[in-house]
């Protein structure tokens, strides 16, 4: 177990280096001149322009830029944004907000997804099952921004049940609506995954044995069927945590959440390489760690799986 985990942590190093190199190059290769955009089409004194280029190493060739970036990274200096703030500060403000949003969305889709999925799977072909299937199909088909705008307008503006956008400090209450929108599409997938998996397992031999030995239906469903059906669901949820964190751009835009998505979008548009690389770097770490947790959960869910 220890060996397994340390090996996975060692793997992080090349993955992280590769990802930063790739992202650094991609931002470098996007056309356009960040300094020209900074001046907004107005003139800039040549000496000022040169000083700004030098400050952000934009006057250097790619490999030197990347090398300088790595060099400062070793000393935990993530660089500066064009507005002169430390990237580490900017990340420190944005990540907690997005993390809360993503965890709420994940909890939402995990709890409701599994409950609905189990009920639908156990009552295959009944009214509840069909209703959930059709509803989830609709949710998958409708783009997130449509769901977001519609819910924002009705719940936030017309009914006034929640604020249309997230307020200062991003309180938990304000995040409910955005989290629901963010988790909705994945919710549909979780329902469908759980349902299919339950249907497969409910006729398995060990379920029949459990029922035959007189266990309560509740215990049969929750321990024997559900636990064995959760492996694909957990795999999906683990991978989803990363995409929820990195893929909240649309939701964050609609509800004005000051999180990673908005930050990344702005930084890409401005060509602010240190910010983009740092955000993506952290997202890569989250993906890798989430996958590690998923692997460990396999062992807990299925005693046949062991790590040495």
């Amino acid at each position: 177990m220890f060996m397994f985990i340390s090996k996975r942590f060692l793997q992080l190093i090349p993955v992280f280096l590769g990802a930063t190199l790739l992202v650094y190059f991609l931002v470098f290769a996007t056309p356009g001149d960040p300094i020209a955009a900074l001046s907004g089409g107005k003139p800039m004194a040549p000496a000022v322009e040169e000083a700004l280029r030098a400050q952000y190493n934009l006057d250097q060739p790619f490999w030197i830029q990347y090398g300088l970036y790595l060099k400062s990274l070793v000393t935990f200096d993530l660089g500066q944004t064009f507005s002169g703030q430390e990237v580490s500060d900017v990340l420190g403000r944005a990540f907690p907000v997005t993390a809360r949003l993503a965890i709420m969305a994940l909890a939402f889709e995990a709890v409701f997804g599994v409950i609905f999925g189990v009920i639908a799977g156990m009552r295959k072909g009944k009214l509840f099952d069909s209703t959930v299937l059709v509803a989830s199909l609709i949710v998958i088909a409708v783009p997130t921004f449509v769901l977001g705008f519609v819910l924002q307008f009705f719940v936030g503006v017309k009914l006034d049940w929640a604020k249309p956008t997230v307020g200062v400090g991003a309180p938990w209450g304000d995040l409910i609506l955005p989290a629901a929108v963010l988790g909705l599409v994945s919710l549909a997938y979780v329902i469908r995954l759980t349902r299919t998996s339950i249907i497969e397992n409910k006729n398995a031999d060990y379920v029949r044995t459990a029922t035959a030995k007189g266990l309560s239906r509740r215990r049969v469903v929750s321990v024997h069927i559900l636990r064995n059906s959760l492996i694909p669901v957990v795999t999906f949820l683990g991978a989803d945590l990363g995409s929820l964190m990195g893929g909240a751009i649309v939701t964050e835009g609609i509800f004005n959440v000051p999180g990673v998505g908005n930050l990344l979008f702005k930084a890409i548009k401005a060509g602010e390489t240190p910010t983009v690389v740092a955000v993506v770097g952290v997202l890569v770490l989250i993906f890798v760690l989430a996958n590690l947790v998923v692997d460990l959960l396999y062992a807990w869910l299925d005693p046949r799986i062991r790590y040495v």
């Binding site: 996007t30 056309p31 356009g32 001149d33 960040p34 020209a36 955009a37 900074l38 001046s39 907004g40 089409g41 107005k42 003139p43 800039m44 004194a45 040549p46 000496a47 000022v48 040169e50 000083a51 700004l52 400050q55 064009f82 507005s83 002169g84 703030q85 500060d89 900017v90 403000r93 944005a94 705008f149 924002q152 307008f153 936030g156 503006v157 006034d160 604020k163 249309p164 956008t165 200062v168 400090g169 964050e252 835009g253 609609i254 509800f255 004005n256 000051p258 908005n262 930050l263 979008f265 702005k266 548009k269 401005a270 060509g271």
Partner: protein, 545 residues
């Protein structure tokens, strides 16, 4: 105004959003007397400032509107754009080149430091010096000695044209006559700074101590979330706050802000998202406005294109101008929220005229356009295998729609091959323009930094000027500009500047399209919302209910 935040919605496109206009300005505290709860704060939209809050480094609206409220300069601009004395007691000159500026005594910054003549001189020298890399440094270029402090690796840090006489008096010597210099002094770049700013500019920019009608609340700037301003008790100028403070909420996009406005969760919104431009007046039921501000939209045709050189090029530019039906585009695409251009400046500027000889070239006339094109063909054949393009940046709202429309009109009227050319981002378009990669026209626009006709002409069409995208150069025009600048009164200068536009109408260095207008709205919780000459709300006069 600058770009990122780019764009009074449609109105300011990305380019504009990045540039900052001098803002704010008071008309004698108009709102102060009209009731309302003077202790209640109002909320307004903004974008995250793109630099620390330093006068000479703030060149976009997000930071500019904050700077205008927490600092005050020698003058501020009223709603009509006319300068009103703030700190200035008097600004005097006999020759439009040597100015003597007296400031009011007894003023102080919110950290307790007094505002003296030195606060101005030091701040301007700091802004101009190359080593401080301040983005607005070129604003000081008319001051004598700027060339020495702004040169690469300069060690000189003070401009010889600035001299402190005593605590309340300083003199400015310009390197040439400029009659509109006093008009500029309300712009952000010319604000004074306390000594603390020079000791640690970076820290000061995060938590500035100013001398304006408002000051930053404690921990008032929460990055990407909000900027809280509270009234500054030490301020005694004409822009007295009529409310208990302004909470600027930072929005990543206007759609979210508009929803907040509809839900009364935001009090003042200074731009309407493109998707709501058609209906906002109905949806807000009398709580909206739509007024021109000091900005315009133009098309620039690059000078290095052989087919647009010389006499034939002049005729072709005129033909293209006359083949665009501006009113149709305004009505169909902008729902009437713009005003057709009749000159190179803006109708909100003092001295504006809509009857400058030659302005007919901006009127849609298909027959005349075809005829001019034919005349140009007679001088030089047109190569129709290379389409005429209009380049634009997709990240500026509404750009695609109007460029597509203009391209179609040109194509249909002149019968030439034409197509739009999209650039994903503003920075990409600017880089392509700077690298001379244009194959036709590209969209341009100007938002005035300070309310003056010259600001719409000199920086854009003067030979070698900083924002002269088309590299236009005319000796005759330059001479007129210089003549206007050496006039001893603003009125006389304006007459000469308008005469200089007659030359521009003949040469058409750019094709003016329309004047920008600001659309905004307010919630049921506030009253007395007015927008200034530059399209920025006059926050200090807004009252809370």
């Amino acid at each position: 105004m600058r770009f990122n935040r780019a764009s009074k919605a449609l109105v300011l496109s990305a380019a504009l959003a990045l540039t900052l206009s001098a803002c704010g300005g008071g008309d004698g505290g108009a709102g102060a007397s009209s009731g309302g709860d003077a202790t209640k704060a109002i909320s307004a939209n903004t974008t995250e400032p793109e630099s620390g809050l330093l006068p000479a480094d703030t060149n976009e609206v997000g930071g500019g509107r904050i700077m205008d409220l927490i600092f005050t300069g020698l003058v501020s601009y009223g709603a009509d754009g006319k300068p009103v004395n703030e700190l200035a007691e008097s600004i005097e000159t006999k020759d439009a080149q040597n100015y003597t500026i007296k400031i009011k005594a007894g003023q102080k910054f919110s950290n307790g430091d007094p505002v003296t003549a030195k606060s101005f001189v030091d701040a301007w020298n700091f802004g101009a010096a190359a080593k401080n890399a301040q983005k607005n440094s070129y604003f000081f270029e008319s001051i004598k000695g700027y060339d020495k402090v702004s040169a690469k690796g300069a060690t000189v840090e003070t401009m010889e044209g600035l001299k402190v006489v005593d605590d309340t008096t300083f003199t400015v010597e310009l390197s040439r006559k400029e009659s509109d210099f006093p008009l500029r002094l309300g712009y952000t770049a010319f604000f004074p700074l306390p000594a603390a700013a020079f000791a640690d500019p970076k820290a000061f920019g995060q938590n500035p101590a100013g001398n304006g009608p408002y000051k930053l609340a404690e921990n008032g700037w929460q990055h990407n979330v909000q900027i809280q301003l509270v009234p500054n008790p030490d301020y005694s100028g004409p822009r007295k706050p009529a409310n208990g403070g302004v909470d600027f909420k930072i929005y990543a996009n206007t759609e979210a802000a508009y929803q907040d406005l509809l839900g009364n969760n935001l009090d003042v919104l200074d731009q309407i998202p493109p998707s709501s431009l058609k209906n906002f007046a109905d949806e807000l039921k009398g709580r909206s406005l739509n007024q021109p501000y000091a900005g315009n939209a133009t098309l620039t045709i690059s000078d290095y294109l052989p087919q647009f050189a010389g006499e034939a090029g002049k005729l072709r530019r005129q033909a293209i101008s006359m083949s665009i039906d501006r009113q149709q585009i305004i009505d169909k695409i902008f729902f009437g929220n713009k005003k057709i251009a009749t000159d190179f400046t803006s109708p909100v500027i003092d001295g504006f005229s809509d009857a400058i000889p030659g302005h007919e070239v901006l009127t849609f006339d298909a027959e005349k356009a075809k005829e001019l094109w034919k005349q140009a063909d007679a001088l030089q054949a047109w190569d129709n295998s290379k389409p005429f393009t209009i380049a634009y940046n997709v990240d500026g709202a509404g750009n695609k729609e109007y460029v597509d429309a203009a391209v179609n009109q040109i194509k249909n009227t002149l019968g030439i091959a034409a197509e739009p050319k999209a650039y994903a981002t503003f920075k990409e378009l600017r880089a392509a323009v700077n690298n001379k990669e244009m194959t036709g026209a590209h969209r341009t626009g100007w938002q005035a930094d300070y309310p003056s006709l010259y600001n719409f002409l000199g920086p854009l069409y003067g030979t070698g000027a900083g924002s002269n995208d088309g590299n236009y150069s005319s000796k005759e025009f330059d001479a007129k500009l210089a003549e206007g600048l050496s006039a001893t009164s603003v009125e006389e200068g304006n007459k000469i500047f308008n005469a200089s536009q007659e030359i521009l109408f003949k040469d058409l260095p750019v094709i003016p399209l329309w004047y920008q207008a600001a659309q905004g709205g307010w919630s049921e919780n506030v009253d007395n919302v007015k927008f200034a000459w530059n399209g920025v709300p006059m926050y200090y006069s807004i009252t809370a209910k």
